[in-house]
């Protein structure tokens, strides 16, 4: 039992340990963060000129015609008109507006879904052998692995819409360049994510397959593919979600989909049309995401 006298003799016993000084990594990181943020936000040659204090002013100096077109928040009559147009695009088949909206938006929407579906399935199918060749199990020779990894990193670094504009040059406008662009994008995502899974598989079945005399492709087929199949399917579905979002803007460079309708209204400054396109697109993206999350949960 400690008496007050003895605790006074050893004051260090309960003393709080000295706080270690911040490491050079932490100090350098902090200074770097602040400096980088200031450089990028400042209004000069090498910054975008972002000032949070100016945001309320920007809202006051908005373009009234565009605001009215996109949101119809200024006038009650406009709002009623907008609701009528929206419902006409979806519900009322007799409406004359259906022709101007539904034909363009509806066709674009269907094409967007087609592009995303084809690109996902095609890209995933191409990815599976690449994933296996991108791992130690599938390619004991490092050359193949390094080449695939390098090419895929370059592939992933190019955004889908820039791929799309390259393919527009190669195969001219339409849905085809969109499909090819998103196929490249799918390969990038699926190969990157699935190769990690392939690297982490249980080696037992592979050894067993080799032990009973299976050829290399056969061993991959019976010992590797079944192990990575659930993850591969989940990543492919994830790629589908990303593709659907990506397919929407492809039309901007002439690669098909609802983006073409968007581009049409945008270039004619018909902001009601733009608004409907964005709304339709929002609904579809949210719906598909819900479905995909449900399916993915079942797979894993």
């Amino acid at each position: 039992m400690t008496t007050p006298a003895s605790s006074q003799q050893a004051p260090a016993r309960g003393a709080r340990p000295r706080k270690p000084p911040p490491t050079p990594f932490a100090i350098g990181g902090m200074i770097g963060l602040v400096a980088f943020t200031l450089v990028t936000a400042w209004d000069w040659t090498f910054g975008i000129g972002f000032n949070p204090l100016e945001i309320p002013g920007e809202f006051r100096d908005s373009n009234p015609q565009m605001v009215e077109g996109l949101f119809n928040i200024t006038d009650a009559e406009w709002r009623a008109e907008y609701a009528a147009r929206l419902s006409a695009a979806f519900i009322d088949p007799e409406s004359p507006l259906l022709i101007s909206f539904d034909s363009r938006i509806g066709r674009g929407l269907l094409e967007t879904i087609h592009i995303a579906v084809i690109a996902t399935i095609l890209g995933s199918a191409i990815s599976l052998p690449l994933c296996i060749a991108n791992s130690k199990v599938g390619a004991p020779n490092p050359v193949a692995r390094v080449v695939i990894k390098l090419l895929n990193n370059a592939n992933r670094a190019i955004p889908d819409i820039i791929w799309a504009s390259v393919f527009v040059v190669l195969v001219s406008v339409g849905a085809l360049p969109g499909i090819l662009a998103l196929t490249m994008f799918t390969i990038g995502v699926v190969v990157k994510l699935t190769s990690d899974t392939v690297d982490g598989i249980d080696m037992g079945p592979v050894e067993a397959a080799h032990a009973v005399g299976a050829s290399h492709p056969n061993a991959m087929r019976v010992a590797v593919v079944p192990q990575v199949l659930p993850a591969y399917a989940a990543f492919s579905l994830y790629a589908f979600e990303l593709n659907l979002r990506g397919a929407v803007i492809l039309g901007f460079v002439g690669a098909g989909g609802i983006g073409e309708a968007f581009n049409y209204y945008w270039s004619r400054l018909e902001f009601e049309g733009v608004s409907v396109v964005v709304f339709v697109f929002l609904v579809v993206v949210i719906a598909i995401e819900r479905i995909s999350i449900g399916v993915r949960r079942r797979l894993i």
């Binding site: 016993r13 975008i48 460079v253």
Partner: protein, 292 residues
């Protein structure tokens, strides 16, 4: 007279391979995937025939790009790439600042259910809205500008940043939280001393990851005309300026890979922490507690 069966022989006879069960789930998936694929390929208006000319055109394209290769517009391309990176960075900062308070209101181990549910719903809404839709909604206020792109990307990244960070917070060790409660700390002390020291490295690593994603997204918004390398490449494509197309693509690939490499090294460092040796640790402990 027939010999009786030995146990080993009986084992062989009985170990006939069982019949493969009918995998209904697998067949359904296969049929659905193939069906959807066929339906799409047959109904889409894609002019598949053009695929045949693609290799030839690709070759011509490549030759044109290589023939016109020059470093003359390199400075402009790098400047535009920098603008894209700046947009991505500001967007990440906006997303981080706006999502940070929401993280702790969306974690089940910190606040009651009736707060978590609505906050999560708000985050889901932000997650569902694509950057492009927000960017277009902002154009009437801010114009076709890098600032518009940064704001749109920042606000749309609130959803993912908030949701995934809240999941990191939910995975923390309960011990420190109970310790803060036991010593009479309030909710804010719990967050500051119980949650942040545990969750911060992973959350910060996730912020960096989001920055990597935003670099790609800012190139996409650039194609619509919001500035940066996307605008550079898109304009070069429109005017068939092969000198700029080739250079732009090379700059995008090199800088993006560079940023990814640096960022993932930083992320690994953040999560692994400072490598402290045992000796260094012992030196930090005051003398009174070092020997029992």
């Amino acid at each position: 007279m027939s010999r009786t069966e030995t146990p080993a022989e009986r084992h062989v006879r009985e170990s006939v391979r069982p019949e493969k069960p009918f995998a209904r789930f697998r067949w359904t998936v296969t049929v659905v995937v193939l069906g959807v694929f066929l339906w799409s390929t047959l109904t889409v208006d894609a002019a598949w025939g053009r695929l045949l000319q693609a290799p030839e055109r690709a070759w011509t394209f490549l030759v044109l790009v290589i023939e016109n290769a020059s470093l003359a517009p390199l400075l402009i391309a790098l400047e535009d790439m920098w603008i894209s990176v700046a947009i991505a960075w500001i967007a990440t900062i906006i997303g981080v600042v706006l999502s940070f308070p929401l993280i702790f209101l969306a974690a089940y181990n910190l606040v009651p259910r009736w707060i978590v549910q609505p906050v999560r719903q708000v985050l889901n809404v932000f997650r569902a809205i694509p950057e492009i839709a927000l960017a277009i909604a902002f154009v009437p206020f801010f114009g076709l500008d890098p600032v518009t792109a940064a704001l749109a990307m920042g606000i749309s990244s609130i959803g993912t940043l908030g949701k995934l960070s809240a999941e990191i917070v939910e995975d923390i060790d309960r011990g420190p939280l109970e310790a803060v409660e036991a010593s009479g700390g309030g909710w804010l002390s719990k967050v500051r001393w119980g949650v942040l020291p545990q969750a911060m490295p992973e959350i910060a690593a996730f912020w960096l990851y989001r920055f990597e994603i935003n670099v790609r997204v800012s190139a996409v918004l650039g194609v619509i005309g919001m500035g940066g390398i996307g605008t550079f490449v898109q304009e070069a494509m429109r005017f068939n300026d092969y000198e700029r197309i080739g250079l732009g693509l090379v700059v995008v690939v090199v800088v993006t890979i560079l940023i990814d490499t640096v960022s993932s090294a930083l992320r690994r460092r953040l999560i692994a922490g400072v490598p402290v040796s045992v000796d260094a640790k012992r030196q930090q402990i005051p003398d009174g507690t070092s020997s029992p």
